[in-house]
């Protein structure tokens, strides 16, 4: 943050970072990112961030990652891991901040919503998430 670099390290400044929405509510982690290789032979560029246990499981690989990805995939209706278009990213430091609100990103954290609907029926649980 002290010096503005023309480039950043994907390993430190992007991967595994916490993502928050416009109201600083946690959305998830940068579990992976989607790259696009342009046809004209130029360098690849990031099109979307991948968020959630499915993306993380696929990245980790092996039996543990496979199990995690399969379990997460069963909780989702969409077959591919949840993504977040990179154009929504506001800045990366100190956390990845997104211009949208979590409530407007239906593909993120469906389990959270499902659980929240059940928990809010319990006494003293506070307001609904939306």
């Amino acid at each position: 943050m002290t010096t503005v670099r023309a480039s950043i390290s994907a390993r430190i400044a992007l991967m595994d970072k916490q993502i928050v929405d416009r109201d600083r509510l946690p959305i998830g982690r940068v579990d992976d990112a989607e790259l696009q290789l342009p046809d004209d032979g130029g360098p690849p560029y990031i099109t979307a961030l991948r968020i959630g246990a499915q993306a993380l499981g696929e990245r980790l690989g092996g039996s543990v990652g496979g199990t995690m990805a399969a379990a997460a995939a069963r909780l989702r209706t969409d077959p591919s891991p949840a993504g977040l278009d990179v154009s929504l990213v506001e800045h990366l430091e100190p956390m990845v901040a997104v211009r949208a609100r979590l409530a407007d990103l239906p593909q993120i954290a469906p389990l959270e919503r499902w659980l929240a609907q059940r928990i809010q029926r319990a006494p003293g649980a506070g307001d609904a998430p939306q």
């Binding site: 002290t2 430190i12 595994d16 946690p26 980790l60 959270e112 919503r113 003293g124 307001d127 998430p129």
Partner: protein, 410 residues
């Protein structure tokens, strides 16, 4: 005025929060078997936990996020997951032991079997967890935990031969019939009992939730530098009273009732009542904090929303994880597994996980892009490196020693 008040509260709850079921068991066992010959371990623990709690607090002040949030990007997703699964397993054991501790305190007060109290204790924890704000919770149990200072008074009331105590403290080797393996095993157990990661967590989240800024750093440091050493003094007092009352008599500590017994001998009925209240508060507070720390760990690994800042429904997965863990621990306690044995096993494994928790904090505190002018200075780095080196040795020795000494029995 209110600032001074809040600051005193923070220091006091650090003292009360230092002691939990692990200390109640391990300190008393060590005192009865080795006197104060392991007193130096408490010194190491206090230096270690102070150093890392200060670092964690500083990171939180600078980034306005708890220190552990940056852990995954430093350890990597794979190692982070390993540490997470390990600490989940250890916490399940620890919560079980702390819950049993609450129940055992109630048993001492009522003479009703502790297994009957376990479900009630779990229910009580759940209600407090659900309704009280984080800070209030921390303060109430921290302050109630101060009643544990009765152990310090008991040292004087027992009128010990001070030169014997000093000589014991100055002899870092096992007593006659004990082996070096057993001695070292209890070094590991004491480190695991006293350097509990949730103490670091306490400073980190406390700093975020009270919205501390870099100018509050001095206050944070005083909290650490006064609170933890006084907590260590409490741990030493538990060792000392067990030494005075049990060592000559040949008593081996296997129950919480035995931890409290020397206070009754020294200070009578009132002392015992205060000690039982202290045990209740310390284990209750520790149950809540361990649950929280684990909930936060899981939530932060996956980047979920978490915490008492939000109502349960706003952090649904966090709530589900913590409540699930509480239920699992309750079920474990009801299997009649001996809580004292579980405590010892849990603190030993907890000690072996310490490098995973400390290393990322040290790394982030050195990252100048994140920390700027608040990055670690030479003192924090030298101490931090030394503490991590010790915890790595401990982590390697923990399992072999546990087996070799049959959990400290042989």
């Amino acid at each position: 005025m209110s600032r001074v008040f809040a600051f005193t509260l923070g220091t006091l709850s650090a003292i009360g929060g230092f002691i939990d079921i692990g200390d109640l068991v391990a300190d008393a066992q060590v005192g009865a078997r080795f006197g104060l010959r392991l007193g130096w371990v408490t010194l190491v623990s206090v230096v270690g936990i102070s150093c890392f709690a200060e670092m964690a607090g500083r990171i939180a002040v600078k980034t306005q996020r708890p220190a552990f949030e940056l852990a995954r990007s430093r350890l990597g997703a794979r190692f982070g997951l390993f540490g997470l699964v390990g600490s989940l397993a250890v916490t399940a054991l620890l919560v079980m032991a702390e819950l049993s501790g609450i129940a055992l305190a109630l048993q001492l007060a009522t003479d009703i079997h502790y297994l009957l109290w376990v479900p009630l204790a779990a229910l009580l924890v759940l209600i407090v967890f659900w309704t009280l704000p984080f800070e209030a919770m921390e303060r109430i149990y921290g302050l109630l935990g101060l009643t544990m200072l009765v152990f310090v008074l008991a040292v004087w009331a027992l009128e010990p031969d001070w030169s014997t105590l000093l000589r014991s403290a100055a002899t870092p080797s096992p007593t006659g019939p004990e082996s070096w393996a057993t001695y070292l095993f209890f070094v590991v157990a004491l480190i695991g009992a006293q350097m509990t990661p949730y103490e670091m967590f306490f400073f980190s989240t406390g700093a975020v939730e009270s919205r501390w800024r870099p100018k509050d750093l001095a206050e944070l440091r005083v909290n650490v530098l006064v609170g933890f050493p006084l907590g260590g003094l409490l741990a030493l007092a538990i060792q000392a009273v067990a030494f005075i009352v049990f060592f000559q008599a040949g008593v081996q500590v296997e129950h919480i009732s035995q931890t409290a017994l020397p206070v009754a001998v020294g200070l009578g009925k009132v002392g015992l009542i205060v000690a039982i209240v202290g045990i209740f508060a310390a284990t209750f507070g520790a149950t809540l904090e361990t649950l929280f720390a684990t909930g936060y760990d899981v939530a932060q690994y996956f980047g979920w929303s978490y915490g008492k800042v939000q109502e349960p429904a706003r952090a649904a997965r966090f709530t589900a994880v913590t409540v699930g863990l509480l239920l699992a621990a309750t079920a474990l306690a009801l299997t009649t597994l001996d809580p004292i044995t579980v405590t010892i096993v849990a603190v030993v494994f907890s000690a072996s996980l310490l490098p995973f928790l400390f290393l990322p904090v040290l790394l982030v505190a050195n990252d100048r892009d994140v920390m700027g002018e608040l990055a670690n200075g030479p003192l924090a780095n030298v101490l931090g490196t030394a503490v991590i080196a010790i915890t790595i040795l401990i982590s390697l020795a923990a399992f072999p020693l546990l087996v070799l000494t049959r959990g400290g029995i042989a």
